[in-house]
Amino acid sequence: MEGNLNLTLKIWRQKNAQTAGKFETYQVSGISEDMSFLEMIDVLNNRLIEEGDDPVAFDHDCREGICGMCSMYINGRPHGPNKGVTTCQLHMRSFQDGQTITIEPWRAEAFPVIKDLVVNRSAFDRIIAAGGFISVNTGNAQDANSLPIPKDHADDAFAAAACIGCGACVAACKNASAMLFTSAKISQLALLPQGQAERAKRAEAMVAQMDEEGFGACSNTGACEAECPKGISLENIARMNREYFSAVFTSK
């Protein structure tokens, strides 16, 4: 796949969490407009390996916009300039020949850098483990039709469940707040009958874990919603506020 884009890349290189990092500048040429952003980095890495240099470490898995691994802060925005896409779904036709592209890892106290562009997002896993689950009885599966669910609740729960845990909301937020992520995980269960048993405890536990992990508070700037590749709505954060405070005043 040969193309005609020549680009200057300024990429954050950092050996590990203990050492300080810095930007390195690389030139890449002959990049095709049809390549994804990750494929463009692959081209660079192949060259670095051939030259005996350390390739740029970055996270990726599905490369089809569903796993949420491909965290890159590109020219001042999580997942680059386009709306509603992850980095793997960003294509080089979104850039111009001769452009300089600055690539940084997610920056947050709660997401320490592991190497180069790879950050540790296990804080998200611990927030989910704190309350993002439901209890299910053993034995035969219940007849699905015995649980009536209003259509709008099902729709909202589905929309919240679209969150892929990528962390773009944290990366975009000036406070490195994880409210959009946590509220989506609280909402998808609070809206459904299966989530009722743990409803109050869940809200309290997940918010407490979110604070303990070192994410910031919400200033309602809306940057998270604007940058979320899955279109998770700020309505979820409002719902989380309701869930949390009603739990605070009613839980025993």
């Binding site: 802060y73 600055t102 490195a176 707040s177 508070a217 200033s219 700037t221 506020n241 605070v248």
Partner: protein, 222 residues
């Protein structure tokens, strides 16, 4: 009560306090603006002075004055606490940030706008609250209305007041609707209305406040 202090010290609790105190200040400004706008009656400050005297004597208003100072102080201290906390959450800054791509500048600058407001409020209290409550200079011949005329004769003061009103407009342009989101009020039925009222309130109240020093300075009020 450990449960309450724990939740009010959580990230959500700190914002709840911000929203409640902020909306309380919003409601105060309606009264403050309504009363002060009577200077535009051009009756030599007669209505305005009557109102000011009532406010100074009425025990309910005097009690609310203490609540107001308390609310303002809570809002300032909680804002400071949030600002310090939030700053720490990103120890290594980005080299490039394209903030305009995803949010309004004033929504990201509430701490700065609040600090400008605080500086303005200190100057403003010195001008009028200190004069009317803590000195004996207020007399039949030299009313609060006369003091306004005297203070706003200075162009520097007029500029400071107009800048204060601009900071207020932007603080509330984000703050008004933000407070309802913090309180959990976000619904397709009424959120557009809240946003509309918030924008109208912020702009109208700031224009009326800014018009006072300007009008006094240009001798349009007498």
């Amino acid at each position: 009560m450990a449960w309450l202090s724990k939740s009010l010290n959580s990230s959500l609790g700190k914002k709840l306090l911000m929203a409640i105190t902020g909306l309380f200040l919003v409601s105060f400004l309606v009264v403050h603006c309504g009363l002060n706008a009577t200077v535009f009656f051009n009756d030599g400050g007669e209505t305005f002075n009557k109102g000011a005297e009532f406010m100074a004597k009425n025990p309910f208003i005097r009690t609310m004055e203490i609540v107001l100072f308390g609310g303002l102080l809570l809002h300032i201290l909680d804002g400071l606490r949030l600002w310090i906390d939030n700053k720490k959450k990103r120890p290594v800054a980005y080299a490039v940030v394209d903030g305009a791509a995803n949010s309004k500048w004033y929504s990201r600058s509430m701490g700065l706008l609040g600090t400008l407001l605080l500086l303005f409020i200190i100057i403003h209290l010195k001008h009028f609250w200190y004069f009317s409550r803590l000195t004996d200079n207020l007399t039949e011949e030299h009313t609060l209305f006369h003091e306004m005329q005297a203070i706003f004769a200075s162009p520097v003061v007029v500029v400071i007041y107009v800048l204060g009103c601009i900071s207020l407009a932007y603080h509330l342009l984000h703050g008004f609707q933000s407070a309802f989101q913090t309180l959990g009020w976000n619904h397709p039925k009424y959120t557009p209305t809240i946003k509309c009222i918030g924008a109208a309130y912020s702009i109208i109240i700031s224009i009326i406040f800014a018009a006072m020093p300007i009008a006094f300075h240009l001798n349009l009020i007498h």
